[in-house]
Amino acid sequence: MLKKYGSMIVAAALVAFMIASCKPKKKDDGPVDTGKSPYQSKNDEGTISGVIKFDGTPPDRKRIDMGADANCASAGGEKLTEEVLVTDGKLANVFVYLTGGPVDQFSFQPPSDPVVLDQKGCRYDPHVLGVMIKQTLRILNSDQTAHNVHPTPKNNPEWNESQPPGTAPKEKTFNRAETLIPVKCNQHPWMKANVGVLAHPCFSVSAQDGTYTIKNVPPGNYTLVTWHETMGEQKTQITVGASEKKTQDFTYKSSVAYAPTSLRVEAALILP
C-alpha cells in the first residue's frame, strides 16, 4: 500500500507545502495599533528650548571630492562634510526629542503638512530632520543629476528608488517610530541624511546657532534626549508644568564618548 501510493503521498505533501508557502505573509510595515487614546489639548502646553554647545576643538570638515560626477562638481554650495557642524561653539544637526510621560501615553495626529528633504548640490538638505508616523516626507531632487534615495531603517521597510533630474517629488511615510533612520544615496556615497520618526510631535533639530525649541509639550515628566550622528546620545529628566517655558542646554565634548546611538553599525566585510 505504502509502496504503491508512497510517491503520490510525497507529491501531495510537497504541493501542500508549496501552497502553504505561497500564502501572503503577514505584513510587518503597517502602522502599529497602540490602543492609546488621542491626546486632548487643554491649551496648557509648555515649551522646551535650549542651546546645544560644543566644548573643545571640532574636527575639520573634509572637502568632498565630487569629481566623478560633473553635475555635482559644478553645482553650487559648499562641498564639505557636515557630520560635526560647529559655529562659535554651538552644535547644529542635533536631534532633540522627548520620551516617557504624556507623549508616550497618548496618540497624536500627524500634521497634514509634509516635511521636505531636498537633494541640492549633491547633498541632502537638511542633514537631520524629524517626521511623525504617517506624516508625509516629500523628497525633491533639485540637482541636474540622478540620485538614488535609499533609507536603511531597522523597524520600517527599506526602499531604494532612483530619482532622475526633473522628475516629480517622492512622497513617503513611515509607520513605525525609529530614531534615527540613515538615508543614503547609492549614486553618491558621501550623501547622507538622518530622519527621526516619532509617534508624537515633540521633537526638534538644533539650528546653525545650536538653538532648538520643542513647542506644544503636554505637561508632565519626561526624558529629554539629544542625538548626534557621531557623538551619540545624552539624556536628562525634565518636568514641564502647565504653560511652562523650560530651558535646557546640553554640551557635547570632543573628548568624551557618549552613549552609543541606535545607528552604530559594525562592518561585516573583511578586506584582505
Binding site: D60, T81, A146, S162
Partner: protein
C-alpha cells in the same frame, strides 16, 4: 534564388572588408577605432589585437566566400545536387588542429603581454595607489607625504565622513593619507595599483592605457602601468555591478612629474582643492 543569396553574401563580405580597411587604413589614422594610446605597453596590446583581427578576418572572409560558393553552385535551381556525406575524420582533424594551433599561438603571444603587467614587479620607485571599488564609485587611496599607507579596517569605513577605505584614525601613518575619487598619476613613472572591492565585482577600465582589470571582493590584485601623456582620461566600470553601474565613472589625471610631486606632498584638503582646479582645467581626452 540561391545565386542571388550567394551574391548578396559575397557583397556583404566585400563591403565589410572595404568599410573596415577604408575607415582604418586608407582614410583613417590606422587606430582601428581605438582611443588614443598613452600606455607604455599599449602599442604591444594594439598589435596583438590587430594580429588577432587579421587572423579571424581571413577566416571570416574565406568561410563566407566558401559558403557563398556552395550556395551558388548547389542552389535549388542549379544543375548540380549537393551530396550528403556522413563526415570526414581527416577533414575534421585538420581544421580542428589548425584552429587549435592558431589560437594557442595567439594565446601564448598574448600571455607575454599579460605577464608584463601582472607578474613583473613595477619597480621600487613606482607610485603606489590602492584602489577600493564600491557601488558605484572608484576610491583611490594615496599614502601621502610619508609614502606609507595607513592601516585600514572595515569597521572604520564610513562613507558620509569620506572614510571610504576604512582608514584607522588612530594610526599615525594614515594621518597624511589621501582618499579621492580621481586617479592622479605622473607622466612617465610606473604606477603600481592594488585593486580591491568592498561589495561586488567591478572592473577598472582605462581605455587610453589599454588597461582593464576586475576588482574582486576578498582579493588583492596588483597591476602596474606607465602613462606617457598628460591629460584627463575616463575610467568607466566595465563590469555590470548593479542598478547604477551605468553611472559609475571616474577620471584619471596624468600630470607632469613636477605637478604630481607637488600634489603628492600636499595635505588631503590641499590635494582635493588642487584636484578640483585641475579637473576643470583639463578637457577629457577620448
Amino acid at each position: 534564388m540561391g545565386k542571388i543569396i550567394a551574391v548578396i553574401m559575397w557583397l556583404l563580405v566585400i563591403g565589410t572588408v572595404l568599410l573596415f580597411v577604408g575607415q582604418n587604413v586608407l582614410f583613417g589614422d590606422g587606430r582601428l577605432w581605438f582611443p588614443e594610446n598613452i600606455s607604455e605597453i599599449g602599442a604591444t596590446i594594439d598589435t596583438q589585437f590587430s594580429r588577432t583581427l587579421v587572423v579571424v578576418g581571413i577566416a571570416f572572409v574565406l568561410s563566407q566566400v566558401a559558403l557563398g560558393y556552395v550556395v551558388f553552385r548547389f542552389g535549388r535551381r542549379g544543375q548540380e545536387r549537393a551530396q550528403y556525406i556522413h563526415g570526414s575524420g581527416k577533414l575534421e582533424a585538420i581544421w580542428t588542429v589548425a584552429t587549435g594551433v592558431v589560437f594557442i599561438v595567439l594565446a601564448v603571444m598574448a600571455q607575454f603581454i599579460w605577464a608584463q603587467v601582472h607578474l613583473q614587479e613595477a619597480g621600487p620607485n613606482a607610485v603606489k595607489v590602492e584602489v577600493v571599488a564600491q557601488q558605484f564609485q572608484f576610491n583611490f587611496h594615496y599614502p601621502g607625504a610619508d609614502g606609507v599607507f595607513g592601516r585600514t579596517e572595515p569597521k572604520f569605513i564610513n562613507d558620509s565622513s569620506l572614510n571610504y577605505v576604512g582608514l584607522d584614525p588612530s594610526d599615525a601613518n594614515g594621518k597624511d593619507d589621501v582618499q579621492t575619487t580621481t586617479l592622479v598619476v605622473p607622466v612617465g613613472d610606473p604606477v603600481d595599483l592594488t585593486l580591491r572591492s568592498k561589495d561586488v565585482i567591478h572592473s577598472l577600465f582605462i581605455p587610453a592605457l589599454r588597461f582593464k582589470q576586475d576588482t574582486v571582493p576578498g582579493l588583492s590584485i596588483k597591476m602596474h602601468f606607465t602613462a606617457n601623456k598628460a591629460g584627463k582620461y575616463e575610467i568607466p566600470c566595465a563590469e555590470l555591478c548593479g542598478q547604477l553601474h551605468y553611472n559609475m565613472r571616474s577620471f584619471m589625471l596624468v600630470l607632469p612629474k613636477d605637478d604630481y610631486r607637488a600634489m603628492a606632498a600636499m595635505s588631503e584638503e590641499k590635494f582635493k582643492e588642487r584636484l578640483t582646479e585641475l579637473l576643470q582645467q583639463y578637457p577629457i581626452n577620448r
